[in-house]
Amino acid sequence: MGWSIRTAYVTGQSSRCQLRRAVGIIIDSMNRRRRRLISCFVAVWLALFTYETLRASYLSPLVLRLRSARAPSDVEGLAGRPLPKLPLLFPPAGWIMFFHIDKAYGFAEVYGLRRGVEPALLDPHDIFATKAVGYDNIHRNVLVGVLDRSDAPAFCRYLKRKFPAYDEFAVVYAQYPDVVETPDRILRQIAYRCQ
């Protein structure tokens, strides 16, 4: 390429034509390189995309089944491990919106307690006041995330800051066991208390 340009420059014979051809070769080579790069990116992306789409629900169970069939005694060891997830990209469990909906509906309630006063059910919108655009996160059962006991100390600190008027709090797991047969029956169990 460099030779073509130099020759065209030095000889001057039909230089414009040669120069155009040389520039054409350079552009063609750049385009080819770019196409190759894009093809590589697309191939890698499609491979990762397919893997992450199928991993949690299909590939991992399949691999676990195969491994446990091969080494039945090592299910808790290496054979029991699911396939690794690609960090920082793609949903952890694939594209699974509303895929399993049960008759039971569980949710969380938080009660504020004061000495000598009846426990007061706190409005979840007051606990988490962030208002999403176009929907209500509380209706998406965001509060159920506080039930995990490992989060209890952090959530208790948070409640004490937000509601200083109360002495204690009770975080309750509530459940409609069957929204069809017994739609008004709610079971409640204290998950933990903040003292």
């Binding site: 770019r34 196409r35 894009i38 093809s39 990116f41 697309v42 992306w45 499609l46 995309f49 789409t53 629900s57 299909y58 169970p61 960090p87 920082l88 990209l89 793609f90 949903p91 952890p92 469990a93 694939g94 594209w95 699974i96 919106m97 509303f98 895929f99 399993h100 909906i101 049960d102 008759k103 509906y105 949710f107 988490f128 006041a129 962030t130 208002k131 999403a132 655009v133 176009g134 929907y135 209500d136 996160n137 509380i138 209706h139 998406r140 059962n141 965001v142 995330g145 506080v146 995990d148 989060d151 952090a154 959530f155 948070y158 800051r161 937000k162 409609y176 929204v179 069809v180 739609p183």
Partner: protein, 440 residues
């Protein structure tokens, strides 16, 4: 033709073919809006969501532990710095100013807040949004159209700029896969839509649940077999939609149905922002960009047939030439016909009020209706007429904006040599401006 050649030509047509990038430019706005709608509300409650006083949870599935530790150790000052970074990069991405760089910064800030606390923003939808953001940052194609980048580049007809199609194709595949795999997971892998009656259960959920209180809900809650049929229909629709979108003959119908489906979901369920703001624009990415370009060209031809507005400018002024060049880019539908007043010997023939002195002192806009305006008022008219300037219309029509605008315009007109960086100026007589008569 061997299978290798067939595959090669299919691959080329699917991903490598150079096609107009106009759709990605429009989609950039939808992405920016969705990111803003998803993130900004959480930033209004900093003490609850992100500062040291917040209740935070971590997404251990998504982030490696060292990253979570690093982010968790960030003091409140760093959190605030990321709020600013997010705000500025979102604004820059929206207007298409250094689109790729601003997109990367915006995405990084989203990742930061997600790692800091996934309690409010972390949903499956946010993961989907991050996948979309990643693809939008891979190239600078989203900044080709409807952007400050296109103005900076200064090339005419940015809507016709050709780019390899792979980004748009991968976004199309993402949407198709989201629908198809959602349907698949409902009937396999733990999904219970065939063996049970989930739609019926949804209708029976308590008031605090995910279903909105829409008019037919109570009635549907009394008809389990109808709910089961509706559930199956939804699954069939989700399975079919990707194919219907890829087949050109069924595409228009699929687009209407797909968007209606999203609206219906949003009206009946508390689904996150992305369902309403991102999925419908993702579907619109199936519209062939060539059709958009053809539609714009038809509008341009129609404007040419109706008669364009004349924009009279000083063709001996570099600043004016540069400004007109940018106005041509903004004038998507060819409503304007810029004209150097020096090339028009008889200005009074165009309009009795037009004189060379007036044209030299400010740009003049003569609309097909005969309406004449100059300087800032002409600019204000342009914000009403040129679609890509319409975002500025509310600002320039605010009370007092005209008073300020006219003075700013006069100042710019008088000092245009200070603002003007065109090296061609030395030879194009823009020194005329030094007389005080010239203007953009």
């Amino acid at each position: 033709m061997g299978p290798g050649t067939v595959f090669s030509s299919w691959w080329h047509a699917a991903f490598l073919a150079r096609r107009p990038s106009i759709s990605l430019g429009l989609f950039r706005l939808a992405v920016a809006f969705t990111v803003g709608a998803h993130m900004i509300p959480s930033l209004f409650q900093m003490a609850d969501n992100y500062l040291a006083t917040a209740f935070k949870t971590k997404n251990l599935w998504f982030f490696p532990v060292p990253i979570l530790r690093l982010v968790d150790a960030s003091p409140d000052g760093v959190v605030w710095a990321f709020v600013w970074l997010f705000g500025l990069s979102l604004a820059a991405f929206t207007i298409g100013w250094y689109s790729q760089a601003s997109g990367i910064l915006m995405t990084l800030s989203c990742y930061y807040f997600y790692a800091l606390n996934n309690y409010h923003i972390g949903t499956l939808s946010f993961d989907i949004l991050l996948v979309t953001l990643f693809l939008m940052c891979v190239t600078n194609y989203p900044g080709d159209f409807l952007s400050v980048d296109s103005l900076r580049r200064g090339k005419s007809a940015p809507h016709k700029r050709l780019r390899p199609f792979f980004v748009q194709r991968l976004l199309q595949l993402q949407l198709a896969c989201t629908f198809w795999c959602t349907a698949l997971s409902k009937v396999t892998a733990g999904g219970n839509w065939l063996t049970d009656n989930p739609y019926y259960y949804l209708m029976r959920y308590p008031a605090i649940g995910v279903v909105r209180d829409f008019p037919l809900r109570a009635w549907l809650g009394q008809h389990p077999s109808l709910c089961y049929s509706l559930g199956l229909s939804l699954i069939l629709f989700e399975f079919a939609l990707p194919f219907l979108l890829f087949i050109p003959a069924t595409r228009p119908c699929a687009l209407v149905l797909g968007i209606a489906f999203q609206v219906m979901l949003w009206l009946t369920l508390h689904v996150p922002t992305i369902f309403l703001f991102l999925f419908p624009p993702l579907m619109l990415l199936f519209v062939a960009p060539e059709r958009l370009v053809a539609w714009i060209e038809r509008r341009q031809e129609a404007n040419a047939a109706r008669g364009r507005a004349l924009l009279l400018y000083d063709g001996q002024c570099g600043f004016c030439l540069e400004s007109v060049k940018r106005l041509r880019i903004v004038d998507l539908f060819g409503w304007l016909d810029p004209l150097d007043f020096h090339a028009q010997p008889d200005l009074a023939r165009l309009h009795p009020a037009l004189t060379p002195e007036r044209c030299r002192s400010e740009m003049m806009l003569l609309e097909p209706t005969g309406r004449l305006s100059g300087g800032f008022d002409a600019f204000a008219r342009l914000t009403r007429k040129l679609p890509l300037l319409m975002g500025l219309a509310p600002a320039v029509h605010l009370p007092g904006a005209a008073w300020i605008g006219r003075r700013v315009y006069r100042w710019v007109a008088r000092n245009r040599l200070l603002l003007h960086r065109n090296p061609a100026c030395a030879s194009n007589q823009c020194g005329l401006a030094e007389t005080g008569n010239g203007s953009p």
